[in-house]
Symmetry: C2
Subunit: 197 residues, 2 copies
């Protein structure tokens, strides 16, 4: 059986990461998508166990104490973490696992597990990211400027990532993600074992 691998997908808000991930997961039902635990309140329409595992701060601290989180980070006053069990169970069954986490969390996972593949979803240009943020109509001009600066900070921190996928079109971005998933299963460690027994 081929080994399951873990792929981290990061990207700034407004880049269209969720759209790209949903398209990828719709086409590849064998991929396991990791649902994060968070202490933030559910937004309208968000379901527990689907969008997030919604837990309180005490529960979050317990998960940390029991080493049940692969990584955790704070973002705008709330905590977010990746339950370890789901990742390990799926990998053991030969399934690839997709983690949608930001750069701080990705660094933690990569330090613990250097074989994890890190992919950054980037905009075609900074102007285009600004247009997309403005087009959502959810943020004030000041908040958009803050998000843009944060995006540039993340972009600089992401220079050690393995891959940058540019979300120019959703189809193009999904095609690149699919290629990366296939290519990463051609690595010598996995393949030499297959051939030599």
């Amino acid at each position: 059986m081929r080994s399951g691998r873990t792929f981290i997908i990061s990207g700034p808000s407004g880049v269209g990461k969720s759209t790209v991930l949903n398209a990828l997961l719709a086409r590849h039902t064998d991929l396991a998508f990791s649902v994060s635990a968070t202490t933030r309140n559910p937004r309208p329409g968000e379901q527990n166990g689907v969008h997030y595992h919604f837990i309180n701060v005490d529960q979050f601290r317990e998960m940390i104490a029991r080493h049940e989180l692969l990584e955790y980070a704070e973002y705008v006053g709330n905590f977010y973490g990746t339950p370890k069990q789901f990742v390990d169970d799926n990998m053991a069954r030969g399934r690839d696992v997709i983690l949608d986490i930001e750069v701080q969390g990705a660094t933690q996972v990569h330090t613990l597990r250097p074989e994890t593949v890190r992919i950054f979803i980037a905009p075609p240009s900074w102007d285009e990211l600004e247009r997309r943020l403005a087009g959502r109509g959810t943020d004030s001009p000041e908040k958009i400027q803050k998000r843009l600066v944060r995006a540039k900070v993340e972009f600089q921190m992401a220079h050690t990532y393995d891959y940058f996928v540019i979300n120019d079109t959703v189809d193009g971005a999904v095609r690149e993600l699919e290629a990366i998933l296939i290519a990463e299963h051609c690595r010598p460690r996995e393949r030499m074992e297959m051939i030599d027994g």
Copy 2:
């Protein structure tokens, strides 16, 4: 303009490397295939400049002296080398270049140019490689055994390669090669330049 990259394809005799490469090149006419220079005699049907640049030993030595070869190696008493000019001209025009060279030559190129991607075409199993070698009907049983031992030596030397593509079916192998080519153009160095500058 996106940068051209160099991809080295190696693999033992009998693995079906030429069939896979021909299928890849037929589907992707933008790829530049590097034709090696050699001092061996042309076989029936081989054309100068298409299969090889057929030159004599003096000419080969001159190319070495003028640093016109990216790598060169001896194989069964003959010399083989990669003309540097063709590789550099095509990369400068943004085209990917495919080098069909063996492990010794690949090591030379990778030492000079660490950004070169090395791909090893491997058989699904050693038994299957033996069947393919026997099926060609061109070698004596003793020669087949020699080729198998050589294949295992190359395989061990290739553990530092970036990728192992298994030629189970030609379509499957081409699909993996296509994925590797796409994925390698998603590397941070190339992509961060596109976005930031």
